[in-house]
Amino acid sequence: MTEKKNPFSFQLDASDFLPADKEEKQGLVVMRQSVSFWRDGLRRFRKNKIAMVSLVVIILIMIFAFVMPSFYPYSYEQQIRGSENLAPMEYSAEELALIEQGIDVFPHILGTDSLGRDTMVRLMMGSRISLLVGIVASILVLLIGSIYGSVAGYFGGKVDMIMMRLVDIIYTVPDILIIILLMVTLKYPLQNLADTVPAFSWINTIGVGLICIFIVFALLYWVGMARIVRSQILTLKEQEFVTAAKALGAGHGRIIRKHLLTNCMGTLIVTTTLQIPSSIFTESFLSFIGIGVAAPMPSLGSMAAQAIGGITSYPYRLLAPAIMISLIILSFNLIGDGLRDAFDPKLKN
């Protein structure tokens, strides 16, 4: 049953049997450092190559959309006579003439549309719209949803019940239908407001269509976030640190803000990040069917819609916004996935 080894084979001597001291034993013990939640999460995120690449892509696109148009020689609504329907890198007759005269004419890298507008700069503006909508809408959803959800979850009881009934109803309403209807009809009162009340004239600068989109999202899309926040709060509020805070005399607002919401930060960040591509998707969808930002402001969706007619002769006009929108949505999705993998403690291994 046992392998009785010959003690001779070990070449033992008396000193081997001396007791070992503490230092010798410590050397074999492996200790792991403890890390803070944020540092740990960020470290994991940085390790995720795909997510990091997507982050870089988004930053590049942001520069493309927000910074470059200021340095670009063309503007999005500028219609250049004689330069209609140019292919990428092609020059119109007038432009060629100018070059002959020694004047530099910046090439139309992606060509022009049927009204002589440079496609590249319109792509930049369209991307800007998409990114703006995505980020602003998500922030609105985050703010409204988390406040609503935390109030409902924290106070519980009747308050919670009534608030969640409302959420249930809004959740059940088919959002796209209502959004479309709202988009079509809100234009008028908003335009009215912008034209008549001077305090609201800024609406015209940003564009009624864009404001409409923001209002509509704010009205309907916060419910998902509210539900998530509420369930998190419900679990958290039973924990002891909340009782401790209350015992110390902290008021409701403080408890919600400082203790509860900070603990759901991880989930909040992930959900908000993933809301961005969803909002961008909806905006491009609306613009595609013709209910979005108004001309001449371009949107990636409306650019694609306009390009269908010329799909045989001018494929670039379709491919450019199509690729751009897919890239934006994909990158945000990957960043969101990466954040979720990095900050979700359950998946820690």
């Binding site: 796209i176 494929p315 929108i325």
Partner: protein
């Protein structure tokens, strides 16, 4: 169980009523009325038209009349497509959209479930990575992009498929593919993560310890559990398919309900807008309700609550 059903049905009714009322309110917020866009009608004609369609009555009366009619199933006449009732238009459009939508949902499930399972079973191997990549890209590409790209490749460059209408089986290929692209990718991812979770469960270990074959373990024990989240997704899937059809029908010029809805908005055909909105909303809400109830039936854990 009965309690749950009653609650959900009540919720559905309230929501539907809310949708109808909101739509009615919004319609009447648009200045100008439905007939202003047409070739400038004379005062008298305008008055006559308004009278004919009851548009000169105070709003509350219009509302009551309309709701009353709808409850009896009559959605009224179309304002712009003279001579046809809204019911007729919806019926025709729905036939087309239903076929398109039904095929897309079927395709999405037939692609998504097996693909997701294969990915989960081969976790970490190259096939899993390929499937993940394709499905991740798939959920990022909007349906109008897919449609237009498909059109470009198969109609313009290769001249294989038609782009207009639904008159032959060949006509169905691109629209169905375009409409099912996102759902297929979503279901693939969903199935994959669901299957991965199921495969790691203790009862799978028990099944293995019993000496069951891999086939039995997969199809009897794993699949039945893994498919539950996909069933839950059927509700939103339907909503997506219906609304996604707006785009698809526009691009491929298909005379479906989506097209009717969009053009009714553009044309300010109030009755048609109301009708299609209520119908579509009802469809989505009812389907969601049915799926939720079905889910509760399939999962024995919730049956007795």
């Amino acid at each position: 169980m009965a309690n749950y059903v009653i609650k959900r049905v009540l919720l559905a009714i309230v929501t539907l009523w809310l949708v109808a009322t909101i739509t009615f309110a919004l319609m009447n917020m648009v200045p100008g009325g439905p007939f202003l866009a047409e070739k400038a009608p004379s005062e008298a004609t305008l008055k006559a038209l308004n009278e004919k369609y009851g548009l000169d009555q105070p709003l509350i009366v219009q509302y009551k009349n309309y709701m009353g009619k709808v409850l009896k199933g009559d959605m009224g006449p179309s304002l712009k497509q003279r001579g046809r009732t809204v019911n007729q238009i919806i019926a025709n459009g729905f036939k087309v959209s239903a076929r398109l939508g039904g095929l897309s949902v079927l395709l999405a499930i037939l692609i998504g479930v097996p693909l997701g399972s294969v990915a989960a079973l081969n976790r970490g191997k190259w096939i899993d990575n390929v499937i993940i990549v394709i499905s991740t890209c798939g959920i990022a590409v909007p349906s109008f992009v897919v449609s237009t790209v498909l059109m470009m490749i198969f109609s313009v460059k290769l001249d294989l498929l038609p782009t207009y209408g639904l008159s032959s089986p060949l006509h169905y290929i691109m629209p169905v593919m375009a409409l099912s692209f996102y759902p297929s990718s979503y279901i693939t991812r969903l199935m994959r993560s669901s299957m991965l979770e199921v495969l790691g469960q203790d009862y799978m270990r028990t099944a293995n310890a019993k000496g069951l074959s891999r086939f039995k373990m997969l199809f009897k024990h794993a699949l039945r559990n893994a498919i539950l989240p996909v069933v839950t997704y059927l509700g939103p899937l339907l909503a997506y398919t219906l609304t996604g059809s707006f785009v698809i029908e526009k691009i491929f010029t298909i005379p479906g309900l989506g097209n009717d809805f969009i053009s009714s908005i553009v044309n300010r055909d109030y009755m048609l807008i109301m009708g299609t909105t209520i119908f579509l909303a009802a469809l989505i809400i009812v389907m969601n309700l049915l799926v939720d109830i079905a889910y509760k039936l399939i999962d024995p854990r919730i049956k007795l609550k």
